[in-house]
Every structure is written in structure tokens, then in C-alpha cells.
Symmetry: D2
Subunit: 390 residues, 4 copies
């Protein structure tokens, strides 16, 4: 039995609203489940779609008070800020290009923001947003949800404790296959906006999944990037953004790495995988089987660590809900981000309040770095894979 | 992308209460998360512990209204039945011996029951409870949660569609290792009541996990048991109930099977596994990796079907929340039971209302059969593994 | 790098002959490769088929001197015994019913015997053969080849060293699918004799593969059987011998076990698997992936030991040829039996010569026990799975 | 049952000699087993070590006629060419720098050559050797043994038949961990020569294992390289040759790929892995588990093809020895190269004789390309990973 995440709160849930996430969306529903799982949040307002008809229908479908179903995020920010029972936080789950203006509106209205990745469609926006977060002092959580899987936390803890020695090599990959054919041409909503530079920004696979792989590599290894060399392709004829990215990494201090992100690799549903190797050992984690972490101390037998099992330490236990052998999944990992957000938001209620030291979540700075990663990949690829700093 | 379970309801959550599940419990918290996940239930009352002090503290910890934190299930059933905003359903998550009297109290008070397994501590009680459910017409859901994993539903659908041909062989196993040593002697709460015949009933491993394996085998194969031969052991000195069960099965119609349930098998955290073989093909499902189902059509390559992937049909899609490659886990499977319960309870609001045909959950009859399985195992083992009918 | 099996000999290969193994046979070719692999044996004579035409053609095909291609084992035993360059050993790879008379002929001619399993078609013959081996003092090696895989030797060594503590549970299974349909009806040679009681003996799957599973369980665990309870079926209409066997085991000293052997389980090519659990740990080995051994010391992380890897000890190293990560397979395991046979035969050249202590191979006594296992299964099954001693 | 490789020959084995492979060597013993496995070769001569003492002892150990144990390859080539029973072929298994002069000596003496990889220590030598092979018309077989695994042949056949559509992506990796620390400093023979530029050539990991990965990628995909960009490291202080290589590939026609080769990645024993993705499907093969090939036809369930199983075609069956479920390994794959060599050598006995079309083995041209790959990697890495043609 694990001590586990404090999964329920006697102090009343945090009221929050949602921008995006209407009918036909994928990630909005994920956010809502994640927010509900630990009883820490209650959804009370929404601007669920930029299409008023769909916004209304979506609100009804999930039981939102019609009065608090807004036609736009701007309207919602303004109205909720005025209500005595207004939202304390907002989740932004729109296409990338809306992240910046929506986040800006809520931050300026004094509302904490939980925002989907990548942070923004351009690096310029990302930097402005970071400045605004700094200025307003509001909590800003970026949902790089994979960092909140217990065995990812375990991996990071092991690196920090020196169990791998000095890190030499980082191999991250994120292959998928759902864009193997021209799905956007069929009108599929998820594919369409992701292939549209106006909505997505400069990166295709690099932005949608490459940023996850990069963020995860950084999170676990603790290494900082020096420069990268990227070779991007759009294999599907007519596709405007990259669907395959080969990237070589040079970290400060001399470690090296590679990232492969692809959306045209048949056989991979959502194949995020991270491997880190040091002078004393190596680890491997695979998102599709997230309760396991392979660990080989050099010269000793390979170990299969399990979430909440014998080899898992406090960092994993802290974000686990059920005993080992009872698999946790994607939604629990995502919910861990919301649980951390709740801790940060509750702490922020006090003047100069800070969350406890072990509260970890991806910040606006991680978001800036992610967009910089995308833009560096695009720049490098255009210059024949020349090395680029972020 | 999957059509998915309808995960949110615009019609307001179902108010429910909980019996058991206070501090130090495991399964109570699981029920609460499962109930919350789809927004279909709201916990408003509880008799969380038979120890008043612990009941109070537990209620405070999870934010229950102190007024609706009761000292006993009897008091709670009575009080809630009178309230205009009283609970519509109760979740019973106590040691086995309390299931019967608690369920009786709520059913008689006109409250639907969601009850942990095994149904009761004795077969006599189980039969009385079944009669009572019949008489009151209330919804009764037994949380054999493993039947609600999407790929278990998939497996059942494939059997029903004849993709395996005529079933010949069923192999079920459920090894764990947490009772390898005398954990009860340390005072560990979970181990203590499970090893106590007064609280558990006649079965140890047979009752705690053997019933899951048996129920799962029946659920997927659709076969009915003719008789069984069981060889039970309590390997740990001083243990009063079985911790290892070897069972041979004979099904009506000629199929054969085996069940191995053990709590003293080092290396197994929660190793529930089911394999079914017929004249046309075979399948294999492993609880620890629940998003996969191995399927071999005889004479063709082995296939790895994935939840929400290319080979998964409507029965799996109906209870899936996120796309393939985004692993769902134990809590989602458990939540599917609650989602089915919600459908049944909403349907029951109408006179003679019945849930839709595709709503599936383990019933009180499954529970009777489970307790009969346990008692048949114990009887058989005492008679040198003689064949016993249930 | 491993020290490895002494894989080549400067002292000249052992001359041997073969009975059976002509065209259309499977296991004869396996024996020949195994004999060749380490350069310890040279095939110089054969009675490759009871059909003279096929015997001749088979001999030509493998380059045997026509003069030493015999029409019968009797003729071969007689003739080779007289030659100054006659064979020193014979490999018997016929259907089961020929094992006894052929082995008898060669033992009486003073020739060492390497014999395929099961030992004989009946227990009576098996006992006679054991007596004859005793009397003649010749080397007799039974090719329960699975015992010679390095990681099986590793498993046995770990049990002997007490790394699992006191053994409580043994789970062995050997599912295949090649007899799911009535292959014998098509005239397929392998299926035909195996389904014929006159050639196979009393057991079908029990004899062909159940004996392997039983022998392996005994070899690794070191436990002796007290009694068994078996439920056998011939699922394919018209089949005369069992194709599915469910068996419960009681070992002397109180350990318990199960064996499942099946040839009608679609999805299993050759699924031999052994699991052993004790008070201190558990292990799992799967024949299809033979270079791995899972080991869980109770309360510690699960380890994946690899052949010639960090956790493998001397017993495994002794029978390994290549470094870890370079997979060895079925033929290497089989060749290890031949390598042990060579050591025993060379030792036997000296008066009262005995092989070194670490030379291990299945003996005629193992063979007697295997046939006793088959007959006990058949007897038990006929008596409604009553417990039977061997 | 598989039709299988013709595993024995009635026409007498091919006499061969060996250069290198004395005591302390690894790959020499592998070659000898591979040569013996199918009975097609007989070792009759050797220059097993450049150290006369070790050469003599090694020859005695493996039972070589002392008269045909030579002090140098030069002497051996000369002497054997004169003997009426002289060797027809030679296996060269020395450090890389000896490949060229030794191969030259034997080719010029009219003896066929089977040579370990990489072909030579320099590209200049490689080209000279290719010219010499052309001029002499002798058979030259390079032991890129991984190309002879049955499921690698299967993969290649599937690509050729169009089952993957147009190839877009190739991902090859070959991580090991045995050089994580400075093994050469301990005097370990295998590590020492591999880290010595004089004996190895310009490449460390690139030459030792990168060439395997590159050759395998080319063999299966059928693609030709346009250019590469490489970032090499020697992570272990003082090491003179690369121990980690990150390489990006651009193939002619637009496909892209990556190779990662490392000898400092703890947890990997011999982790060669190949993945190929096209417009219609993807495949994955892992050397440590060589009897499996994952295949996903886009939009259909993932299939696990097995050697000699339902989905395996003629190219795999041709080089299989035992039925599916009976794992073949590294030595069988290596032996397949020798079996192909035997076919080529027998064909070459006839004037203008050519082996049958389905006889496939790595040639001297593959060897030239391999050395070109190594030198291009080194050149690229020195120029900040600039793109290089081979």
C-alpha cells in the first residue's frame, strides 16, 4: 500500500472555467476528468467553442450553468472576474494560437491559468506571456502531463540522487502513426488544426509531440540544451508542417542526445519513450506502459521497478493513488498535474504564499523553452540541419 | 479517437453515501475516485468506520458534512432515507462480514447498493441478499471491477461473436505476493481482516481474489460451471485461511479450466490473467497491462489488439475515455462500473425502468455464485479435492 | 565474455549412429545438429527408417556411408559391435514404442545410448530398461533437452543455493496449438504417430510434452512428487490420446503445483514455462525466450537475469557459448545435452570412470519417472481425477 | 514444421582454414561453430594467433593437425595452396587491420575468403580488396551475420513485396554497455584492440557495431544512402576512438533515418534494433529476440510474426532449421552465412558457376560501403556534423 497523493480535500474544490474543449475536442475532456479525479476542482464556467452554437450545446452536454457558458474567452474573463463566486482558475485547451490571447485575458483579470502545450504559436508570444506571468504573480501551469507520471518522477529522482552517475546520453522518441495518411483532408478536426500553421505555429510534429519529448528529456535528465541540429520532413504530400523530425542534441557539459518525433510511423499509437544513460547506470521508460521503469546499475542485473513497488521512492509514491500491480494510466498522470496545480493555487491564496518544495509542475518558462525548441528545429532544418542554440 | 463513454452528465450527479472506507482503508478511496471520475456521483454521506473517532476524522479529511457523518450504517440508512436530499445510492466497502447487514439496511430503506466483493461472508447470507434485491427491486451492483476493463469487454464480445469458435479451455490465474510473510502479525489492517474467518468468511485467497478470477472467466467465456476440484493451502504458519488455491474446473458442455489464486507468489503484485481457447482461436489478457488483448486466430499470425486501436470493437469503445496509446488503468476500469451503475440508477427512476441492453455490471447473482465458488472450493479441499458442484 | 562450455575437443570426435531420423522426421535432424555443434560427435552409421527405401535415401541425403546404412536397428547393433571402428554411442530418435527394443539391442551390444523422450511406451518397459542400464553400466542419456538451457541451470542453482527459500509452489505449463485440428487425418507424419496409442503409449499431450514440463519442474525445484490428480481430454473428435491435460501436484514436504499441457491452445507455438515460488523469492522462465530468467527476491525489485549477464552464475556459464545479448536457442540447449553426454562417454572409457560432478544430464531414472507420470495421469483421469502416486 | 535450410550435405564438407581465433578470442569460436552446424565445412588448417606460442596451444586445444598449424597467414596461404588436400576457403577473424593483407594473400593463392567485418581498417584498403576479389573471381563473404537471421530475411522480403509501401523512415540502433568503463585499461583483449586506431581503423563504435546497424538498415530497406551527418563522442576519458555515435541519414529518394550506436549505454548487452516505416506499414526487429518480427499494416492490428510461424514467408523458411516456438539464435544466424557461403563455394567449382538466385550474403562491396560509412562518420563529426556523402 502506498501513502499516496492526498486525493481528497476537506476544504472545498477550486472553482475553474474552461476555454475550448467543446464537442469534437479531445484534450478538453481529458482536462475535465483530470480536474475531477481528486475532487480538487469544480468546473463552473466555460467558453467551450469559438462557434456559439457548439459552445452552447457543449455546455449543456456537460451540465454547465447556461448563464456561465460564454461566447468568448474575453467575455468570460471579464464576467467571471466580477462575480463573487467567480472562477479562481481557467484551463485553456484550444488550438495553440489561442493560448496567448486567452491566457493574457485571464492573467490580467487575476485568474490563475492552466494551459495546454505548446505554450504559444510563436516564441515572441511565449516571451510576452512569461513576462506577464511574472508581473501578475499568478499561478501558471503548463500541462506537459507526461512529467507527472509516477515513474517519470522516480526516474528524475534517481538522476538527482546520482544513481545513474554523470549523464552522458539521452535518447527520446515520440512516434505516432495517426497522420500516416492525409487525415486533415477528410476534415478530421484534430488533424486539421494541427496541420495548419496559423493555428499550430511553425511546428507540426515538433510542436505537437516533439515538445513533449524535449520537455521530458530535460525534466528527467536535468540537463540544459546547448544546441540542436534538426532534419524535418512533411512526408504526406501537401502537408504544410513537419510530420517527422530527426534531431540531434548537444547538452551543456558534454552530454549528447537524439529526439525522433513522428506522426507517420505505422505501428506506433503514442510511443513516447525516454532513455537516459550515465557513468553508473541506465534507465528506460515507455509511456504506453507507464507503471514500469527499467533500471540497470552498470554491472548488475537489470531491474524492473514498478510504481508503488519495492524499488519506487518517495517522488513516485507522492503522486500514486493505488497499490502496485493496479495500473495507473494517462488520466492519473494528467490528474497529477491538476493536483499540483491545486496545491500551488491554494498556497497562492496566502500573501506571498508558495507551494511546498516537492510541488512540481511545468511552468511558463518550460513553455518558452518548448516554443524555442520548435523554432530552433525549424530554423536548423531550413539551414541544412545547422546547429542552433535555442 | 474513440466515441467513448459518455463521460459527463448534464443532469446532475447522483447523491451517494459510503459505508467503510475510512483512514487506513484501500478500496474506499478507489470507490470514491471511480465515482468522481465521470461526474456522475457526489458523495454526501458516510459511515466511514465502525470506530467513531476514526469515522469522524475520516469524514473531515474528505470534506464530508459532519452532520451526515454517521456512527453506523444503520443510523445512516435510517437518517438518509428520511431526508428530502438523502442519498439515492450507497457504496459498501467494508470487510466482507458487514456486506450483508449493511446492504440489507439500505435496500430496505429504498436505497440502491454498490457493494464490494465477495458479496457476503457466507452463502446463506448471499442467497438472502439476492432474495431481498429481487423483492425490493433496487439496483444492486457488485464491484467485480475487472469485468469493466475495455479489453475484457472486447474479449467477451469476441467470444460471443464466435471468433474463438467453441470454447474448450479456460485458464485463469491471480497470483499476488503481499502475504508471502505473516503481514497480519504486524497489525497491517488490510492483511488482518482478510486473514480472519469471522470477517472474511470461509475463503482467504479464494474469496479475496479467486472470486475475481472465477467471475472474470465466467464473464468472458460465457460458460457455466459444472463442478470443481480444489486443493487449498495456508502456507504461512498460523494463517487460518487459504493463501494458495489450485483449482480444476469442468464447465457444462465439456470445456475444462484451471484457476490458480495465490497471495504467496513472490514477483506477482496483482497478476490477474485470463486465457481462453476455442476451436478457432485463443486470447490472452493480463490485468497489469490492461490496454492489450492478444488474439490468435488459429493458423494466422498473432495479433496485439489495443484499446481503442484498429482491432477493438464497440464493446470496448463504449467504455473507453481516451485514444489508443494513452493507457487507461485500474481506476478507469473501476469507474466504468460506476458509470454503468449510474445508467442503471437513472433508468430505475422511471417506473419499471430498465437500463439499455448494453449496460453491463456484475449483479447480486454473480455475487451469490462467487460465494458459492468459495464454499465449494473449501468443501472440495476438505474432501481431498473431490469434485463439487457449486 | 563467458568462460563457456569447452566447445571443441582436441581428442577426436565420438563415433555415433542414429536409429530413426530419416526424411520427414523432425527430431532426428535436431539431434544431428546438436551432436555436430561442439565437434564432439561424428555420425558414421544409421538405421534411419523402418522403410528400407526411405532409409537408403535418407542416408544418401546426409552423406552416410551406404555400407553403414542399415535396414534395422538390430542389424546395426550387431554389425557395429563387430567393427573395430564401430560406433561408441547411438542416438535413438524413433516413435516411442521403438525406444525400448532399440535401446536394449545397443546396450547389450555394449554401446552407449542417447535416447529421445519419453523413455518408452510403457512403464513396464521403462523399468526393464533401467535395470538393463544398471546391469550393463553403459551411459544412458535421455534428451529432456530443456534442462540444459543455461537459464534453467541457473534457476536450479538458485534453488539449490536457497535464494528462493523453501519452495511452496511450482507452476509448469506447456501449451501448443499444432493439434487444434485433426492434423493426423491429413497424414502428417509427426501428428500421426503421436496420436497412435500403439506408437506413443498411453499418453498424448501428457507423454509428448507433459513429461517435459514435469521433468523440468522436478529438475529445477528439486522436489519429489507425492501424488497427482489429472483431468485429461481429447478435444478433437476421434482423437485417441489426450490433447489437453490439467494436473494438480502434491510434492513431498508439502509444496503444491499444477501442470497444464495442451496441444489445442491456439496462439501457443511451444509455450513451455516454469514458475517456482518459495518463502524468499520467485522465478519465471519461458522456453520461447530462453536467455532470460525473471527473479524476484521477496520485497525487492524484480530482476531480469540474462544468460552470461551480470546475475548469471557458474551453472549457466558452464553451458553458454557466446556472450550475453547474443541469444542462444533451442539447438544450443539441445547441444548441451550432447556435450554432457560426450563428457560422460569419455569418462566411461576409463575403468570405473565417472564424469565430473558438474556433468548433468537426464538419466534412465528420469525416464522411468516420466513414464510413471504419464501412466499416473491416465489412471487418475480414468478415476475421476483421484489422487495417484507415481 | 518448416521445409528449412538443407542442413546436411551428402557431398563432403568443404575444407577450410582459419586466421586468428586463438585462445582469448571471441569471434573465432563463433565462426567455427557456425561452420560446423550444418556439416558443410571442416576445419583443417589455421594460423590462430600472431603469437607462435598461443597459435600452437590454440591449435592443440581445438584438435588441429600440428603440421597444419601455421605461424603466419602468409605461410599458411603458401603451404595450403600447394597441398593436394589444401583448404578451399579461409575464415579471417583477426583484428581489422589484418583483414586486408590476409585476404589478399589467400585470394592470390586461389582460396575463397570468409572475412569478419568491418572489411578493412581503411577505405583505401577496402577498395583495393574489392578490386582483387573482382580480378580473382573468388568467393568473398563478409560476415554481417545479422542479415542472415530468418526474420531479417522476412523483413526484407516484405519490403521488396511492397507490404510497407514506399519507405519513408529507417531507425536503426545498436547500443551496448560493455565499454562503459575503461575496460581496455584492464588489458581485456577484446576491448584493447577495438580501442586502438592502429588495429581498428578510424572508427570505434561506428566500426565495430555502427557498420552492422548501417548494413542491416540497407539490407532490409533496400535504400541507398545519399549522405549522413554524424556527432561522435569518446565519453570514456583517454579513449581514442568513438564509443557513442549519433547519426542522421538521408537516403536517395527522400527517405530519412537515424542510427545510434553506443558502447557506453548501461542496460544494453547487444541491443541491435531495426525499424522501418512506409506509407502502408511498419516493422520492428530486435536482435536479442530474433524469432519475432512486429508488423503493423497501417490501420490494422499489430501482428507478431514468428520464425516458421503462420505469417513467415519463403525467405525466412529457407534459413530456418526448427519449427516455430523452438527459438533459433545468434549461432544459427551466423551459420546461415556459412551455409550461403557453402552454396556459393560449391557453385564456384564449376566453370563460371554462380550460386542460385536466392543465395544471399554480404559481399566485398557491402564491406567497402561499411568502411566508407565509418570514414564518412568520422569526417562529418570532425566538421561539426556536416553532411557527407560516403
Amino acid at each position: 500500500m502506498v501513502s499516496g497523493t492526498k486525493i481528497e480535500s476537506g476544504v472545498g474544490p477550486i472553482r475553474y472555467g474552461m476555454v475550448g474543449g467543446g464537442q469534437g475536442a479531445f484534450i478538453g475532456a481529458v482536462h475535465r476528468i483530470a480536474a475531477r479525479m481528486d475532487g480538487e476542482f469544480q468546473l463552473v464556467a466555460g467558453a467551450l467553442s469559438s462557434d456559439p452554437q457548439r459552445a452552447k450545446a457543449s455546455a449543456a452536454e456537460i451540465g454547465l450553468d447556461p448563464e456561465r457558458s460564454y461566447g468568448s474567452y474575453a467575455e468570460m474573463a471579464k464576467a467571471e472576474a466580477k462575480r463573487p463566486d467567480g472562477i479562481e482558475a481557467v484551463a485553456i485547451v484550444t488550438p495553440n494560437n489561442v493560448h496567448f490571447p486567452a491566457a493574457k485575458a485571464f492573467l490580467e483579470a487575476g485568474i490563475h491559468v492552466i494551459c495546454d502545450k505548446p505554450l504559444t504559436a510563436t516564441l515572441a508570444e511565449a516571451k510576452k506571456l512569461a513576462a506577464l506571468v511574472e508581473k501578475t504573480g499568478k499561478v501558471f501551469v503548463l500541462t506537459h502531463n507526461y512529467t507527472a507520471y509516477p515513474m517519470v518522477r522516480q526516474a528524475r529522482e534517481m538522476v538527482q540522487k546520482g544513481q545513474l552517475g554523470d549523464i552522458r546520453i539521452v535518447q527520446a522518441e515520440y512516434p505516432q502513426d495517426w497522420l500516416t495518411e492525409d487525415l486533415a483532408a477528410t476534415g478530421q478536426k484534430q488533424a486539421s488544426w494541427r496541420s495548419d500553421p496559423k493555428q499550430s505555429g511553425a511546428g507540426g510534429a515538433t510542436g505537437d509531440i516533439g515538445t513533449h519529448a524535449y520537455n521530458l528529456a530535460r525534466f528527467v535528465s536535468g540537463l540544459e540544451l546547448d544546441s540542436l541540429s534538426a532534419d524535418l520532413d512533411a512526408f504526406v504530400p501537401g502537408r504544410k508542417l513537419d510530420d517527422n523530425a530527426n534531431v540531434m542534441l548537444r547538452f551543456k557539459g558534454g552530454a549528447k542526445g537524439m529526439i525522433w518525433a513522428s506522426q507517420v510511423a505505422p505501428g506506433h499509437e503514442n510511443g513516447l519513450k525516454l532513455r537516459v544513460y550515465g557513468t553508473k547506470g541506465g534507465i528506460e521508460w515507455v509511456q504506453a506502459d507507464p507503471n514500469y521503469l527499467w533500471f540497470t546499475p552498470f554491472g548488475q542485473p537489470k531491474q524492473l521497478l514498478t510504481r508503488a513497488g519495492a524499488g519506487a521512492g518517495p517522488a513516485a509514491a507522492r503522486v500514486s493513488r493505488v497499490p502496485s500491480g493496479h495500473p495507473e494510466g494517462y488520466l492519473e498522470g494528467f490528474a497529477n498535474i491538476y493536483a499540483e496545480a491545486a496545491r500551488a493555487i491554494r498556497a497562492a491564496r496566502k500573501k506571498n504564499g508558495k507551494p511546498a518544495k516537492d510541488v512540481i509542475f511545468p511552468t511558463v518558462q518550460d513553455g518558452v523553452e518548448g516554443v524555442a525548441f520548435v523554432e530552433a528545429c525549424v530554423r536548423s532544418s531550413k539551414k541544412n540541419a545547422a546547429w542552433m542554440k535555442l
